[in-house]
Structures are given as structure tokens and as C-alpha cells.
Amino acid sequence: MPVNQLIKTILSNRYVLLLTTLTAYLLVVVAEGAITGREARLLDFENPFFDLNIGDFEEFQTTRSGEDPEVM
């Protein structure tokens, strides 16, 4: 059976198994990223106590550099 042979090959040594696991991990992550058009969302952190938006910080920097060239 080719499937049994494949499983036997994958489990033959630790390097092949690691490579197979990482390949499966990459395939799933990349396929999902491509399908959903995933983008980084690191910058917003809103909660009832304070708001943190690092995106605004970049905007703030741009504004500052526009107003005061000496800063940047």
C-alpha cells in the first residue's frame, strides 16, 4: 500500500518527521493566509482602561516630521 509506505517513510527518522510536520504547518498557514488575505494586526490594543494604537504613533511621527523637520 502506497499510504502505508509513505507513513513508514515519514516515521523512518526524526529529520524526515520534523520536515513533514513543518511542511504541513507551513502549507496550512500559507494557504489560510492566501485565502483570507491575512494582514498583520499588531498595532491596535483597545480595552476599557486605555487605548494603544501604534499605527497612530507612526502617523504622529509623520505629522511631527512634516511640522518640524528638525525632529526627524
Binding site: 527518522n13 520534523l18 510536520t21 504547518y25 507551513l26 498557514v29 491575512r38 494582514e39 482602561f49
Partner: protein, 283 residues
């Protein structure tokens, strides 16, 4: 048969707790002692009149308010404990399967009637659900001591302390919030848990270097070879604490059943499956 398997799994969980009691019990206990002694040291510098005013203010602040609404206030003092839990979790996960092979105890455990699946799942359950219990229990003792100290100080300075009961109820509810938050964070971090377990089972030496090195290498390779950044985007899109932390009980269901959470569980399962299969290779 099912009862027997639960018994075996319970024994595996007990083993994890006994073998790692320094990470799960001693570390938070030591932190709590430091926290308590530091608080007493700070209070010893405050004048008596200000202590009385402070206790009265606390009592009035919490008096009559819903403990559910006030519970998030107690999340701030818990931050050092949560950070310590994360650090201990990383140390535990990266060493758990590696240490078994290093000291050859894996041979003993593989001779027992427990499968590799049960062993690895017991480690995941330990870090997701059992370890936070100890941290929360120690925080509960700390809250109890703090309230006892405030009541004693209140009685000493003849201050009304009725509102401290509400404060204690709010602090107890905050512990439930912290526990649920720890479980949600662990489920959210399942890919990271799987990643660390995979390299803990794989590496012959320095598993932490393997785990970090391969992670960075894959990101660079994707960028250089394919010119895409799906991996980096995936990691960055899951790095926002707002996606797994919550400050209100009503957010629990929303966090647990979000698409990103479920997809993370799927990816984590792939890596954990790899770790389970990897455990068959003994040095």
C-alpha cells in the same frame, strides 16, 4: 476501560505536578512572599493618619458596588504572576520531552501502559489548565492575607471596614477572571505550545535554540525564496493581546469561539501531533 484511562491520565497529570512543583508551586509562592513583604515594607513608611485615610477610601470605593464590575481592578496586581506563569510555561514546555530523553526516564515511561499520545496531551493539559490553578490559589492566599491585614489595620485605627467585604468578593471574582484568561491565552498560544513541544521532542541538545532558530530561519527563507510574508503576517496578526485577553466575563465566549482561536487550535494540533510522533525516537 474508560475509567482506567482516566485513572492513567490523572496519574500522568500528578506526575507532571510532582516533577515540576518548583515551576508551578514554589515560584509563585516565592513571588507572593516577596510581594507581601514588599507591601508591608512600603506600608511601614506611610504615616498612621494616611493609612487610616487609605483604608477608609478603599472601604468606601468598593462599598455597595457590584463585585463583577470591580473585579478587573485586581488584574493589575496579578500581572507579575501572569508574566511569571508565561516564563515558567516556556521553560516547562521546552524541557518536558527533552528532559525525559536526557535522563532516560522515557524508557521507563514507555514501558508503562501509557501511550505517547496520553503523555504529550497530559503536558498540554498541565500547562493549559492545571498550572494556572496553582497560581490562582496562591493569589487567593495573597488576597486573603491582604484583606486580613487591612481589617487588622482598620480595627487598629478605628476605621469602618464594611466595604472591604465587597473588595474581597471582587478580588475572588478577579481570580476566576484570571483563570479563564489564562486558559484562553493557553488555547490561543496552542501553536506556540505545539512548536516548543515539537522541538523538545526533536532536539538532541539545546531545544530552545532549535525552536527559536528554525522559527527565524523559516521566516527569512519565505521572504528570500518566495518574496511573501505569510508566516510573519500570521504571527503578527496573532500578537495583539486584545485577541485573547479579556477584562469582562461577557467576552469569554467571543474570545473562545473566534475564527482565529479555532484556526490556531488546528495549527497547534498539527504541531502537537508531530511532537507525539517524534517521541518514538529515543537517543
Amino acid at each position: 476501560m474508560v475509567v482506567n484511562q482516566f485513572g492513567q491520565f490523572g496519574a500522568l497529570l500528578k506526575r507532571e505536578i510532582i516533577e515540576n512543583r518548583n515551576l508551578f508551586i514554589s515560584t509563585p509562592a516565592l513571588l507572593a512572599v516577596i510581594f507581601f513583604v514588599f507591601s508591608i515594607w512600603v506600608v511601614s513608611f506611610v504615616p498612621s493618619a494616611e493609612i487610616a485615610t487609605g483604608i477608609e477610601y478603599l472601604s468606601v470605593l468598593f462599598d455597595g458596588l457590584s463585585p463583577l464590575q470591580m473585579a478587573p481592578v485586581f488584574l493589575l496586581p496579578a500581572v507579575p504572576f501572569i508574566v511569571t506563569l508565561y516564563i515558567c510555561a516556556i521553560i516547562y514546555l521546552i524541557n518536558s520531552l527533552y528532559q525525559d530523553r536526557k535522563d532516560a526516564s522515557v524508557l521507563f515511561w514507555q514501558s508503562m501502559p501509557v501511550s505517547n499520545l496520553q503523555t504529550v496531551i497530559s503536558k498540554v493539559v498541565t500547562i493549559c489548565a492545571i498550572a494556572p490553578v496553582f497560581y490562582v490559589a496562591i493569589l487567593f492566599v495573597l488576597h486573603l492575607l491582604a484583606v486580613a491585614m487591612l481589617v487588622a489595620l482598620g480595627l487598629t485605627y478605628n476605621v469602618q471596614v464594611a466595604g472591604l467585604g465587597y473588595m474581597f468578593m471582587a478580588s475572588v471574582l478577579s481570580l476566576l477572571l484570571i483563570y479563564l484568561s489564562a486558559i484562553t491565552t493557553a488555547l490561543w498560544s496552542l501553536p506556540s505550545i505545539g512548536w516548543l513541544l515539537l522541538f523538545s521532542a526533536f532536539a538532541r541538545k539545546t531545544p530552545i535554540l532549535w525552536a527559536v532558530g528554525v522559527f527565524i530561519l523559516l521566516g527569512f527563507l519565505e521572504d528570500f525564496v518566495f518574496g511573501s510574508q505569510y508566516l510573519a503576517n500570521w504571527v503578527e496578526s496573532r500578537s495583539n493581546p486584545q485577541q485573547y485577553m479579556f477584562f469582562e466575563f461577557t467576552d469569554v465566549v467571543e474570545r473562545l469561539f473566534s475564527y482565529d482561536m479555532l484556526f490556531g487550535v488546528v495549527v497547534g494540533s498539527i504541531l502537537i501531533s508531530g511532537a507525539i510522533s517524534m517521541r518514538r525516537f529515543i537517543d
